[in-house]
């Protein structure tokens, strides 16, 4: 199928993108078009205007800050995968990126696009949430920063207002003592995850997180993260209480994902 008609305009800068979007519902920002493209081709999404951000230089930089690293929203998954970017973590970002869909998709898909699309099964959505990342948004009313827990409002839903775009993603730095685990269950390599869990243990900063993903809702940070990580809480019990909306069989899978992500953490291995 071919998409319905739309105009595609290229934005040269963040400011230009915001003014091209003009706060209109029918105008949509797009970068790699790897999630939006299929929906356009299927005529399910029918925007009148696409504002393409993929060549916008100011969305493609990396800025090192004392306590974090700022990644331009139009950096591609492959650019993370290939390790050419400064890594705020001890080598975790390339591992996450490598498992997103397929290489040809990773060559075009962007981190900002993935977060803005907010597919609950997406890798960045659950992992960056666990890593305590935030997004810098640019819009008609200026800039603002939102932590990802406030940014994701549901499946495919975010706090982005019409005309607003993600400019950059701020990822806190993690030191050598920090540990990380991520486990996802896919029926087929590269396909949408059926369950996923990301775990962060950063005793240096006193931060612990266990995030449930691919639950067809916004990712949920499980309570008792530290107890889960330290083996003092049962993932089955915590998942049962925290995710009551999941059907029972799906809940069992989520408990397995949680336990396995935690196991990956202690072994220092990620699938």
């Amino acid at each position: 199928m071919k998409p319905g008609r739309f105009d595609l305009v290229l934005a040269g800068s963040c400011g230009e993108a915001v003014s091209l979007l003009g706060g209109r519902e029918e105008a949509k920002p797009v970068a790699g078009s790897q999630s939006l493209g299929p929906m356009l081709n299927l005529r399910l999404a029918r925007p009148a205007v696409l504002v393409d951000l993929s060549t916008c230089a100011e969305l493609r930089g990396v800025t090192e800050e004392a306590d974090s690293v700022l990644y331009g929203a139009a950096l591609t998954h492959a650019e993370f995968e290939d390790g050419g970017l400064v890594d705020a973590t001890p080598g975790w970002l390339p591992q996450i990126a490598r498992r997103i869909a397929y290489r040809a998709v990773r060559n075009r898909g962007t981190v900002g696009g993935s977060l803005a699309h907010a597919d609950p099964a997406a890798d960045w959505v659950v992992t960056l949430r666990a890593l305590g990342a935030s997004v810098l948004l640019a819009g008609p009313e200026g800039e603002r920063e939102l932590a990802l827990d406030a940014f994701f409002t549901g499946a495919l839903a975010t706090a982005l207002k019409p005309g607003e775009i993600i400019r950059a993603v701020r990822v806190p730095r993690r030191g050598a003592s920090a540990r990380w685990g991520y486990w996802k269950f896919c029926r087929k390599l590269g396909e949408f995850a059926k369950a996923s869990a990301a775990v962060l243990a950063d005793p240096g900063r006193g931060e612990f997180a266990v995030v449930a993903g691919a639950i067809e809702r916004a990712p949920v940070a499980l309570p008792e993260a530290q107890a889960l990580i330290e083996g003092r809480a049962d993932p089955r019990v915590v998942v049962e209480e925290a995710l009551p909306f999941l059907p029972p069989e799906r809940r069992a899978l989520q408990a397995t994902a949680t336990a396995r992500a935690i196991a990956a953490l202690s072994e220092g291995e990620n699938e």
């Binding site: 199928m1 071919k2 998409p3 319905g4 008609r5 299929p38 299927l42 005529r43 269950f185 029926r187 087929k188 390599l189 590269g190 396909e191 949408f192 059926k194 069989e249 069992a252 899978l253 397995t256």
Partner: protein, 779 residues
Amino acid sequence: MKTSERGVGASIPRFEDDRYLEGRGRFVGDIRMPNMLEVAFLRSPLAHAEILGVSKPEGAAHQVFTAADLEGVQGIRADSGLPGFRSSVQPILAVDRIRHVNEPIAACVAANRAQAEDLADLTQLEAKPLPAVHDMLKARDKDAPLLHPDWEENAFLESGFEQGIEAAIEKATVTVRRQYRTARQCMSPMEGRGVVAYFDDQADQLVIITSTQMPHIVRNGLAECLGLDQARIRVIAPDVGGGFGYKGILLAEEVVLGWLAMRLRRPMRWIEDRREQLAGNANCREHWYDITGYASADGKLLGVDCEAIVDSGAYSAYPFSACLEAAQVASILPGPYVMEGYRCRTWSVATNKPAILPYRGVARTGVCFAMELVMDDLARELGIEPAEFRRRNLAPAEQMPFVNITGKIFDSGDYVEALDRAVKALDLPALRARQEKGEPDGRLLGVGLSIFCEQGAHGTSVYSGWGIPMVPGYEQATARMTPDGGLELRVGVQSHGQSLETTLAQVANEVLGVEPGKVRLVHGDTALTPYSTGTWGSRCMVMAGGAVAMACEELAERVKAIAAKLLQAEPGQINLADGEARGPSGSVSLSRIGAVWYHAPQDLPDGVDAGGLEATKGYKTVRDTGTFSYACHSALVLVDPETGEVEIERYGIVEDGGVLVNPMVVDGQVWGGAVQGIGTALYEEMPYDSEGQPLATTLADYMLPGAAESPSIAIDHMETPSPISRFGQKGIGESGAIGPPAAIGNAVNDALRGFGARIGQVPITPERVLAALAAGGSQ
């Protein structure tokens, strides 16, 4: 069995490859013609509905065509002659009733596809939804809505077979009864269907270029539907990007495009997109079995009693009809096993789904799943290894040709040997020990086998029995030596991955000694090739291979006669090899012989055959009941009891395809088939909701196995020649796709055994494994 360096038995590289590797293949979507228009269809979003009206968009009514416009065009009818068959007519464009999702309703014509789709968006369908028949098990219920109002029930055909079952039941000490189900699938060749149609005024012919496996059959059907003389239609299959049965059909779209090309006098193109395919053409494999196996205490299989339902969809597709698959179930279920009693009743039921087509393996994949899972459960009841139970009941080699209980004639082979090789390669005792010990990661190890036969190249006596619009007879080929000593072969079958451009050249080399690189295969064009039913039923290498051999033999005689004159020898003294004719003293090249016939007839011998260096010959196997290749598949799986995930650790195939014309090509067929079978076993399913809505209309939802899901597959070849084919070759194209669901199903059940859990349905999804474990644990 390698008989020459470049002939039958040689793994020579393929002549097809270069054009594909350089992107020079010419598929139907690659064809553009001046003034060409593109077609998109308005298709039904509903599965069952009464059409109240179709409104064409204002200002573009002349670009939209509905059933009302198709004056004089007949619907597609494919009746079976079997008693009790209920007939259906598939409208070219829906007339007053819609019977499945994505049925075409209006053809929209524009300068490009996007604009044609815009028109389809603007065309309005007014329809009254009707309750849909979505479950084959409920299709024959008294209160089920009727798809075809003049039918008494939603069944195309009831058929069956019975012999000696009561006695077998009486004798039995062990009985196992099971229900099994296979999912509806979409064959999903990488290239979909597609049609370019134009009217050739000079030839006064409608030309249909279509991605088909059977151009001559398509022409038969088009002539019927369009009311044209066959001579006024030319059907061309260009490069075809995979078929597997998906393109063994007359398409409503072919009829529409042909009609539009004549009506508008402009070339028309329609290329099926993946959504059209998945939403409207998941058309195969959906079977249900209620099967009981009977055995004696000493491990003898006594009988099988079965009721089977095949979901045949809404219409009887041309040419194979809605009868073929279910009727085949009854005739092939016993397979290579010896048994005293057998009964099977089958129903081809009609549902609000696309018409069933025979997919690679046809009914065998489902039948093998049902039969081989019952065999395993009987063995367990008896307390013996499933392999041993099979060994005791397979037809022994010394009984070949073996005639089984339904009268199938197994031409040659040693099934027990195939089984033994598979078991030996597995090292079963070591696996049982490993199983006993348990896996370090907590996963469950299981091992499973399946053994089955594949009847290929079956002909007149089999198909005349079905009484369907297509009965294969003699297969013909034309061989023409060119003036430079090369060879043109013309065959009516169509090659779309089967490598016939290479393997038929090898046959010519075997007979004529012509260098295979100098052989050109002309195929896929009704104007240029002898009539043929086309490429289906694992028949090409046996039938077209036999026909090419016959034509080349005829040519060889004529070549020898000319060579004898040139070499001053007797024809009987001439041998053909390496591109030349060799006599007792000296040799002459084929190019010289060609030059004599065409350019220097004054040098021909007296009494030369006036037919010259061109011959058309017809061929049939010695007996037309088919070659029987067979295989034993073995699967070693690891089941994750927490996720339900099944990983294939090892997959092995012992295969007997008779004499292998090109072993590399055979391996490719078996590998590719096996991965399709793995798709059937673990991944592929088109679910329908209660309103007949297909629920997996993207390739992200309908999962085809990728490289990461596919194991490395070891193939061990046995090569028992078939006594009925020209070189001893057997049809083997479908075999790989038959065995995996049964082998993997048995392996998964072996893994789950300790939990009292059992799978009876493919695909074996994580959800089904977890459900089985939950059910087993609660028993």
